[in-house]
Symmetry: C2
Subunit: 136 residues, 2 copies
């Protein structure tokens, strides 16, 4: 219902939806997973630019996860500074794009991150699933 707030209040009158739909809140659970997501997408797609990443994530999660630009760009810069990502500027339709791709180090590191994610998911499922009795 939150998702429809914009449309509702537009029909009533003015609405302070500055530029994007800020009514969509990501769950706390996504905290800490951004780098892994970025690296995995780059591993899969070769090279991507920031805006493309936000759109791809939104599409794959059917709108449930919206990467904020304030989180994404600093994250990309940090990964670049750490030598995980390489950057390459390109001008498309008079607009600047910064394409990111994994370095060799980044590719190796991505394998580790994905393995950590697997462990994490497995552990969370152990914690929340009505597990078979351990005292057995």
């Amino acid at each position: 219902m939150y998702k429809n707030l914009m449309y509702i209040c537009v029909s009533i009158g003015d609405c302070f939806v500055s530029r994007n739909d800020k009514t969509m809140k990501n769950s706390q659970l996504y905290k800490g997973s951004l780098n892994t997501i970025i690296m995995k997408l780059l591993e899969e797609n070769g090279k991507m630019y920031g805006y493309e990443i936000t759109q791809k994530v939104k599409a794959i999660t059917l709108g449930e996860l919206n990467i904020t630009e304030g989180a994404l760009y600093p994250a990309l810069h940090k990964l670049e500074a750490e030598g995980i990502l390489d950057v390459e500027m390109e001008k498309v339709d008079n607009r600047m794009r910064k394409y990111y791709k994994l370095t060799e180090k980044g590719t190796t590191e991505t394998v580790n991150r994905l393995s950590e994610l697997e462990d994490f998911i497995r552990n969370m499922q152990s914690l929340v699933s009505p597990k078979p009795n351990l005292e057995f």
Copy 2:
């Protein structure tokens, strides 16, 4: 290998492992999941005290996730302040224990949190699994 550092340096000489094994680092991925974990454990076990929660989590995850006390106790206090948890003091073997259990509100909220966790896991799996071609 990090896990064995304590034993290695003890065999060499002095080692600054103050009180617990501080060499165990949890992945960034766990950030944001602590409240959900606490609430689910309480839903399952009725009532638990703080130390018990840390041990239970360590056991279930086979030592992979270690809740730090600096994270746990503030989290419990916050959940209590929000009316999610009720507290009950009990003295056992001359040691004080604070047993926590879900309030009615807490029980309702736990259902939401678990549903969020399911969505989160599903979305993360969509993002990282070599998914079937969406352009098909």
